[in-house]
Symmetry: C2
Subunit: 147 residues, 2 copies
């Protein structure tokens, strides 16, 4: 509630800043919902990717969950300790480790999914379904052409 634009500001706010700001806010909201189950957003992303039952290599998972490799390794360590996922060495390429979701992990994912959908719905309500769809499309394009 500090600096709503006082007029059409001559100052250029960078896209990078707006993205960081929006991401921070939305992430904070999602975090608040997931807190009901005590699950950090990063773990939710991992569970969501794995909940289809397929195993993923650490590299693929890191990409999908938006985490660096060492961070993912340690996050998976924690999730293994919590019996949410498990590791299996990939028989086809023994450098790789495949991560699978345990039954416990799948159950948790099932409880988490509606929380995330709830946020999505909440945003669509406050912000408009059309604007949400448009924003999503623009973000997808940006990501695709980000290179």
């Amino acid at each position: 509630m500090s600096n709503s634009s006082s007029a059409d500001s001559p100052i250029t706010v960078h896209l990078a800043y707006l993205l960081a700001q929006a991401n921070r806010e939305i992430n904070r909201q999602l975090d608040a919902r997931l807190r009901a189950e005590g699950v950090p957003v990063e773990q939710w992303r991992i569970l969501k990717v794995l909940s289809d039952g397929n195993g993923r290599s650490m590299g693929d998972l890191a990409e999908a969950a938006l985490l660096n490799h060492p961070t993912l390794t340690k996050t998976i360590d924690r999730m293994v300790a919590d019996s949410l996922v498990y590791r299996i060495s990939d028989p086809a390429d023994r450098r790789k480790v495949l991560i699978f979701c345990s039954d416990r992990g799948k159950e948790l994912a099932k409880r988490l999914a509606p929380l995330a959908l709830g946020q999505e719905a909440h945003i669509a309500k406050n912000y408009g379904g059309k604007a949400t769809a448009q924003l999503k499309r623009l973000l997808e394009d940006l990501i695709e052409r980000a290179g």
Copy 2:
């Protein structure tokens, strides 16, 4: 170069995820540019806010630089050690501490600004000026109605 959508996917990708993904990528690019001067993105945000010469309280700065209070305190500690900013107790409210940009900090900000603008220009080129403007507007709306 892994998972471009194989078709119009029936799976709903959450806005929260797209924002995180886009933010990660854009932030990474900005970071790569700022690395030329060895300055983390968070410090660049702080310098940009302060470079108009006005002092800001820790609270305001934390809001503007998208950082939690304790994180900001420690970041400012580092920047003070690097003589980029300095603290002055607010005479009007002695609970507050005002942060000011030093001359050295201003010079650094002046070297950093074109790097950030360069990224902005690069995005506009690859992604289109129209799409960029539209995305910015949508993000501003989202932030405003995020509550």
